[in-house]
């Protein structure tokens, strides 16, 4: 019972907690509510640890659940997770606990509603990562906007309504375009000519193991009985890859890409992010940066790459001259590189400027970091995609930590302006040490999490095209520049502002939610092996799907790798 439904349990447990809070507690029982909510999220985290039992030797989709849901349209309640989902699910439950713990003091009004929404947000995001049915996926993807909208709109800063509406509308625009793509994909599943082209080998590759293949077969059988199409993500991946390269494939790619690119966010769709982050309460920022942004990159990993492999690898669709050519992948790579450098420069503005906002700096640095993820994904090789997935996890750790740290200082000073601080290391040595560890993680210092992911992503990018890696390297230098400047301005020198002289150092509760993040950063930085083993097989399968001839280490390739000259 427990093992067969673990994904449902992990997903719905927070929602159950929300209902319990709604029913069990009165409005005034604030203390009890926050302890209950935090404890409940710990329970969910512990439950999610069960997912680490993912069989890395088998790979593919595991922890499968399959139930009839809406037979009229062929939508099913299908849950499943591959190694990538497992890491992101555990990251989500992990950050959820820390987010709740960080809200105890920060949130001072309507606490009951706050914790209910936080729990619901967790439930919906977890649902996104564990859906194997596109209809179910879209449902979770959309509904996760609602709690976030209220978290920003009610407990946010001064300009919260503007930020909340912008966040909601902007992401909605993208996902509605994606909905059109989903509908087209649904009708394609009923296209018999296309279905004839789908081979069992492709399906097995995408499913990864026999059980998942069997689930797809059941889905198809049931859909055929009811005379409907289906929303099976695995089957849609197979259908999409059977689609010939052309306008339809490119349009579908772009429809999905727009929805996810706004969520990531990639330049030029990123401007909702700084506003949402600055206005959101600390826990909102943590979940937003740590988890919600990954919905976008996860979408690219789960849908765009395996579903539209031809468009993903295309470099000549839009323009194909004798010396230059330009295709879908070129656009993605270009936007990724622009995001990396542009995000870093925009972040730097907030240390260059006199009264820059630290939170905005961290927000823009997220744009830069997520650019690395996109670059790694579209390097289309195992190293690049491994790096991208690891970067999702490391970014979740370090950006979450930085937002928590900004929240800690904001609780004490009620300002986030860099110019208000200086010399903090004298009064808050513990805080300074944790901040240093996290700033160094963000820079990508060896032995810390981001180093591993950036190294892998850049190695992948270099393999694809050294110039791309060069541009990414420039962005990383800029990242180091503003992070070091920020640290210098906030922590070094003498204390000049009287208000900073008596600031208390980290409390026990604050240590309790900062230390796990520092440990995670070190763990990933020193020994990323266990994490990489979770994603190895799924990532290799995606690469195999994208480039059937790519020589993956340990697997026979049917043809030699294209050399640099050939690719041009």
């Amino acid at each position: 019972m427990f093992t067969n439904n673990i994904l449902s349990i992990v997903t719905w447990l927070p929602a159950l907690g929300a209902i319990l809070i709604l029913g069990l507690f009165r409005k005034e029982q604030n203390d009890l509510i926050k302890k209950f909510a935090t404890g409940w999220l710990v329970l969910d985290f512990v439950a999610s640890l069960w997912l680490l039992g993912y069989d890395r030797g088998i790979g593919g989709m595991q922890f499968l659940e399959d139930h009839q849901w809406i037979p009229a349209i062929g939508a099913r309640y299908q849950m499943g997770a591959d190694g990538v989902s497992v890491l992101l699910l555990v990251l989500t439950t992990f950050l959820g606990v820390l987010a709740a713990l960080s809200s105890w003091k920060y949130i001072a009004k309507r606490e009951k509603e706050y914790y209910i929404l936080l729990l619901l947000l967790q439930a919906f995001v977890l649902g996104v990562f564990s859906s194997m049915d596109l209809f179910l996926f879209y449902l979770f993807f959309e509904v996760s906007l609602v709690p976030m909208y209220f978290l920003i709109g009610i407990w946010g800063g001064e300009n919260r309504l503007y930020a909340a509406i912008k966040f909601f509308l902007y992401t909605l625009v993208g996902s509605v375009v994606m909905l059109l793509g989903i509908l087209k994909m649904y009708f394609l599943t009923q296209d018999t000519a296309l279905a004839a082209k789908v081979t069992q080998a492709t399906l097995n590759l995408l499913a990864g193991n026999a059980k998942a293949s069997a689930m797809v077969a059941t889905t198809l059988q049931q859909a055929a009985q009811n005379g409907t199409g289906n929303f099976s993500i695995l089957y849609m991946q197979a259908i999409g890859s059977a689609l010939p390269m052309g306008t339809l494939q490119v349009l579908l790619f772009l429809a999905f890409a727009l929805g996810f690119a706004i969520k990531v966010p990639m330049f030029p769709f990123h401007t909702w992010l700084p506003d949402a982050h600055v206005e959101a309460p600390t826990a909102g920022s943590v979940v937003l940066a740590g988890v919600l942004l990954k919905l976008g990159t996860y979408g690219f990993y789960r849908f765009n790459l395996p579903m539209f492999p031809k468009a993903s690898a295309d470099e000549s669709y839009f323009f194909s001259g004798t010396n230059h050519q330009f295709g879908v992948r070129s656009v993605m790579i270009f936007l990724a590189i622009v995001s990396i450098i542009y995000g870093a420069l925009a972040a730097m503005y907030f240390v260059v400027k006199k009264d820059g906002d630290v939170k905005k700096l961290v927000a823009y640095s997220s744009v830069s970091s997520m650019g690395i993820v996109m670059l790694g994904l579209f390097a289309l090789n195992p190293n690049g995609i491994n790096g991208a997935v690891m970067q999702m996890v490391s970014h979740g750790v370090y950006s979450g930590a930085l937002f928590l740290l900004v929240g800690i200082i904001y609780e004490r000073r009620h300002t986030r302006k860099v110019s208000e601080f200086g010399g903090l290391s004298h009064v808050m040595p513990g805080y300074a040490a944790v901040f240093l560890a996290m700033a160094m993680t963000a820079i990508g210092l060896p032995m810390l999490a981001v180093f591993i992911s950036e190294f892998l992503a850049m190695r992948g990018a270099f393999e694809a095209n050294p110039v791309w890696a060069g541009w990414a390297g420039l962005g990383i230098i800029l990242n180091a520049g503003y992070m070091l400047w920020l640290y210098q301005r906030m922590f070094f020198g003498e204390i000049e502002n009287e208000k900073n002289k008596l600031l208390p150092d980290l409390s026990v509760r604050e240590w309790a939610y900062m230390l796990p993040l520092v440990i995670m950063s070190l763990w990933i930085g020193i020994y990323p092996g266990p994490f990489l083993r979770y994603i190895e097989k799924p990532v290799n399968a995606v690469v195999r799907q994208l480039r059937p001839n790519y020589p993956i280490p340990g697997q026979p390739a049917s043809a030699p790798a294209p050399t640099r000259a050939e690719r041009k």
Binding site: K166, L169, Y170, F267, P268, H270, T271, W272, Y342, L345, A346, M348, Y349, V352, K353, L478, G481, Y482, A565
Partner: protein, 295 residues
């Protein structure tokens, strides 16, 4: 280490060339202090390493051609990553059989191999040691050449130090004055920091400002602009709806009311008898209609 030079600490007297009369002073001079632990401990570690560090690579010229130390020898250690142009492979010549092939002309800094060669580095790259070795024709002689060159350079440095700081301490000032521009340049580290500050740091900051302006004005401006456009079009639609579409509906309604109201008002007499009469007429008409229908 011993420092023989002139005491440069600011004791308030030295600068004016007075005799050393420290101790009689009333104000406290800057007495040199021991550095904090955080400074001297790393220095001690570095000093120890510097003293023994040379042993990681004892020249083969001194050992009769043998590389002593095995894996600890830096040459053996680095061998797998050093590109050997003569064998066109990574590693020392001893590991791969040397390829007899005439050397090509020396080209400076050919980083990537010639197109199509498939080699990471060209076989034409300049390698000083190999160039000297091919001239002298002996590995031992090559080693000696470099040993002697470095000893001479070190000797010159030590000699100059002795001259300036031991033999006659005035020499430093004299030469600083004679080579004033060079001295100033050297004193200011050739203004490299200033150059970087101006050319790299300042320009990057400008770029950051520019990017943010672009972001908030153009990119976000576009987003807010589209929101504004949506609101504008909704206003236009709303206005059209209110004044045109709904206006038309109201106008028709008004027209109908105006047209019909005299008739309808005339009927609204308020007398029950009138209503009853109308009812009876209606009833009769209905019955008549029914009868007509039947026949």
């Amino acid at each position: 280490m011993t420092f023989w030079g002139k005491y440069r600490g600011d004791d308030g007297k030295e600068a004016r060339g007075d005799d050393h009369t420290r101790g009689k002073h009333e104000h406290h001079p800057h007495v040199p202090r021991e550095s904090p632990k955080s400074m001297w401990v790393p220095l001690v570690v570095l000093a120890i390493l510097a003293t023994v560090g040379g042993f990681v690579g004892i020249s083969t010229a001194l050992t009769g051609g043998k590389e002593v130390g095995g894996k600890l020898n830096i040459v053996t250690w680095l061998s797998p990553v050093i590109w050997n142009p003569s064998t066109k492979a990574f590693g020392a010549e001893t590991e791969v059989a040397p390829v007899a092939e005439p050397r090509r002309p020396v080209v400076l800094l050919n980083v990537l191999g010639p197109a199509g060669s498939g080699l990471p580095y060209g076989d034409t790259g300049f390698n000083l040691a190999h160039a000297v070795e091919s001239k002298l024709g002996s590995e031992t002689a090559t080693e000696w050449v470099f040993i002697i060159i470095s000893l001479i350079v070190a000797g010159i440095g030590i000699g100059l130090g002795l001259l300036f700081y031991v033999k006659d301490t005035r020499w430093a000032d004299v030469w600083a004055a004679r080579l004033a521009p060079l001295y100033r340049a050297s004193f200011n580290k050739y203004w490299i920091d200033e150059f970087y500050g101006w050319a790299v740091t300042r320009r990057t900051m400008d770029l950051a400002r520019g990017v943010f302006q672009f972001d908030s004005k153009i990119v976000d401006g576009g987003v807010n602009g589209s929101a504004w456009l949506t609101r504008l079009s909704s206003k236009i639609t709303g206005g059209t709806d209110k004044y045109f579409v709904d206006g038309l509906v109201n106008a028709i309604a008004n027209f109908v009311v105006r047209l019909m109201s005299p008739i309808v008002r005339a009927a609204q007499t308020g007398l029950t008898a009138n209503y009853a009469l109308v009812m009876v007429i209606g009833l009769l008409l209905a019955v008549a209609f029914y009868l007509v229908k039947i026949f």
